[in-house]
């Protein structure tokens, strides 16, 4: 998953409120796949109302096809709403875990590197650290690039989640 690093400049963030029922994820995934759209990241989580789930999807591609996907998603009986959000109107956040090899990397060096980011060491094993970072996608990208030089063994990212500011619903 090469999340959020848009090559063509069109990275879209779509937020959906959907029924908390089996099959919903497949229906939405199909709206993308039948139009040849790749999903970069997809987060499904509970919403404040237990009847509904929240989905945040990021995808790249031309805006016209994306408009169609959103329209088709909105047609689904299980979708309460599907909206695209831009960075101005919404807060967005993501969490990453990086496992970094210890070889030659002292804890103080790593701590120094991650200080500038909202990141911390959450596991200190014999041969590796696990670093947790929370922040905007582009901040996660930056730390990822830095840590790669120090030997990232594994990486996992949750994918972007968004929430619209103020009284407007997400």
């Amino acid at each position: 998953m090469t999340a959020i690093k848009s090559k063509d400049g069109f990275t879209h963030t779509i937020s959906m409120l959907v029924a908390n029922k089996p099959g919903v994820l497949v229906r939405i995934a199909m709206a993308f796949s039948r139009r040849g759209f790749n999903i970069d990241s997809l987060v499904v989580s509970p919403s404040a109302n237990e009847k509904f789930s929240r989905m945040t999807i990021t995808a790249q591609g031309d805006p016209e096809t994306l408009e169609q996907i959103i329209r088709q998603a909105n047609k689904l009986v299980d979708v309460i709403h599907a909206w695209e959000h831009n960075d101005q109107e919404a807060i967005h956040s993501e969490l990453a875990l990086f496992k970094v090899r210890k070889k030659g990397n002292s804890k103080s060096v790593i701590n120094g590197l991650i200080k500038a980011f909202q990141a911390r060491i959450i596991d200190d094993s014999e041969d590796s650290f696990i670093i947790e970072q929370v922040g905007e996608t582009k901040e996660l990208d930056k730390l990822e690039d830095i840590l790669k030089k120090y030997g990232v063994v594994e990486m996992v990212r949750t994918g972007k989640v968004v929430m619209v500011k103020g009284h407007q619903p997400t």
Partner: protein, 574 residues
């Protein structure tokens, strides 16, 4: 006195009660292990079970019933292969926005996903070809799901809804207190009522248009907006072209009618497409049979779009203005805000094209399909419910069987499903027993679903099946002739059965036409025969449908007469 203990219903009995409450008259079905409880519950029901001969036949029958009556068709088949056999008919209904409820059996819930006998993941398999679907987990959910399914299938833009019923939910006890619970579909959105300011703004778009064209599609038929379309066209004095499935939304014998538009539409309707300064689609989706080339589509014309489905807006054409809602409601309002337009010159131009490029055929080389269809039109005075299959005969039927009445033209448009016509005609006859139903089918498509002759015979359905037999898969042969140097490949159907004898095998009367001289007499007898009949028309083998716009080319490239020079291979889809 001891109280009589109340008999507990099964899930299947609750299901059938719910279907009865929805006013279901017929279930088109085929039994199997996983639906035996449902078939058992049907024994005591007033709903009539029509036992078909194949699950595809059941879905097309339900589809024909739905198109002819406007009510949802109901299908009940078992799990696994039965469900997959039904898929083609469900997809056909989905493409053409047909209300249909499909009940499929499923293995018991504890065995779901364990490769049980006749298990397939029907919920997932059907997902791309339904408006919505359900996998029932408990018997007590059945009434809510049935209520939602019937609501969803008929409202907004109709479409099939499938309910997958594990056997333990139908055989198990139903213990809920009501058969009429609340629906729970907060995500199901119907178009909001249109604001009068939007209607007025849309109406203004017509102002000053001198060359308007109304493009009327299936949405207008589904909405039963034929009276409003007529009133609207007459008020603004605009010519009307219909899509293949729009036939019936506007009388084709009306002077403002341009007939069917598009790939095999009339030359004059496609001339209108080129010449118009405004095109307003009423319930069409600018499909690639009409909008054969989006880059060159209606160049310079203002494009307006009326559709009940917000998903159709901007999908193919970016309209200058649009309204989302029911065609009948919108036209009723719109009528109040439009004025007659100055279209005298434009209508004269259309009349010129009608005279210059009429639809025509000649029997000089022998009996043609067009003549046979024209005869059927003359003899039935255009009053049959015509149900076609897919191919050349379908286009000729669209051209030569003029449709003046709504709900009397049934054809698989979006899906182009060969095998649709005959079973759909049976469904139409079940729904409208007093009307004359004429199935016009090709020799290819008929052989895909003729097994339903048994159903026609058993129920004595007086459907007339006109088999246009040219011993070719004619439409593909036409493409191979025109675009592939006449290298015929996989289109030869020599060795067809004797269709009259085929009918006789099922106890169905057969008529045979193979020459021009006797055609009228035999056709008259056949169409007036009381009971099901096959009319086997052996027509000239090699004939092509014109006009034709090669796939991917715009209307500017319309071929009106047989071409004398070599054509390049089409770039567009099929």
């Amino acid at each position: 006195m001891p109280k009589k203990s109340k008999k507990i219903m099964t899930g299947a009995e609750a299901l059938i009660k719910c279907l009865e409450n929805q006013g279901v008259e017929y279930i088109f079905g085929y039994p199997g292990g996983a639906v035996i409880p449902i078939f058992d519950a049907l024994v005591n029901s007033k709903i009539k079970l029509i036992l078909v001969r194949h699950e595809q036949g059941a879905t097309h029958m339900a589809d024909g019933y739905a198109r002819a009556t406007g009510k949802p068709g109901v299908v009940c088949v078992t799990s696994g292969p039965a469900a997959t056999n039904a898929i083609t008919g469900i997809m056909t209904a989905m493409m053409d926005s047909i209300p249909m409820i499909v009940l499929t059996g499923q293995t018991i819930t504890p065995l779901l996903g364990k490769d049980a006998f006749q298990e397939t993941d029907t919920f997932s398999v059907s997902m791309p070809v339904v408006k919505h679907n359900y996998l029932v987990k408990k018997a007590n959910e059945i009434p809510r799901i049935v209520k939602e399914a019937f609501y969803i299938t008929q409202t907004g833009r109709p479409g099939p809804v499938l309910i997958d019923l594990p056997k333990d939910t139908t055989a198990g006890e139903f213990t809920a207190s009501t058969l009429d619970p609340e629906m729970d579909i907060p995500g199901y959105k119907l178009p909001a009522k249109i604001k009068s300011v939007d209607i007025k703004a849309f109406a203004k778009q017509f102002k000053n248009s001198k060359k308007p064209l109304l493009l009327v599609g299936h949405g207008a038929v589904i909405s039963k907006a034929h009276k409003e379309v007529l009133a609207f066209a007459e008020k603004i004095k605009a010519p009307v072209a219909t899509t293949l499935l729009g036939k019936g939304a506007f009388p084709e014998s009306h002077p403002l009618s341009l007939g069917m538009i598009g790939m095999h539409g009339t030359a004059y309707s496609n001339k209108a497409l080129i010449g118009c300064d405004l095109i307003c689609s009423i319930g069409s989706r600018w499909d690639d049979r009409v909008n054969t080339n989006n880059m060159e589509f209606c160049l310079g014309a203002k494009k307006l779009h009326i559709d009940i489905d917000q998903g159709e807006i901007n999908k193919i054409v970016k309209p200058d203005s649009y309204l989302i809602g029911d065609a009948k409601e919108i036209l009723t309002e719109l009528l109040k805000h439009v004025d007659p337009l100055e279209t005298g010159t434009w209508l004269k131009e259309m009349d010129f094209y009608k005279k210059e490029f009429p639809l025509h055929y000649s029997n000089e080389h022998g009996l043609t399909a067009q003549y046979v269809i024209d005869l059927a039109y003359q003899i039935t005075k255009g009053k049959s419910i015509v149900v076609t299959d897919v191919g050349q005969h379908q286009m000729w039927a669209a051209q030569f069987y003029r449709t003046d009445y709504p709900d009397s033209w049934l054809s698989s448009g979006g899906a182009g499903t060969m095998g649709y016509g005959f079973p759909a005609a049976l469904g139409a006859q079940f729904g409208r027993p007093k009307d004359h139903v004429l199935a016009i089918v090709g020799d290819g498509g008929f052989q895909m679903t003729f097994y339903e002759l048994a159903t026609a015979s058993i129920h004595k359905l007086p459907v007339k099946v006109l088999v246009i037999d040219n011993k070719y898969l004619g439409m593909v042969r036409q493409w191979q002739e025109l675009f592939f140097d006449n290298r015929l490949s996989g289109v030869d159907l020599e060795g067809n059965p004797d269709f009259v004898k085929l009918g006789e095998a099922y106890g169905i009367k057969g008529f045979h036409i193979d020459n021009v001289e006797k055609a009228q007499e035999i056709m008259t007898q056949a169409l007036n025969y009381k009971g099901p009949a096959i009319i086997h028309a052996e027509v000239i083998k090699e004939d092509n449908v014109f006009p034709m716009i090669p796939a991917g080319k715009s209307a500017y490239h319309m071929i009106i007469e047989p071409p004398t020079e070599k054509l390049e291979r089409p770039s567009g889809s099929t």
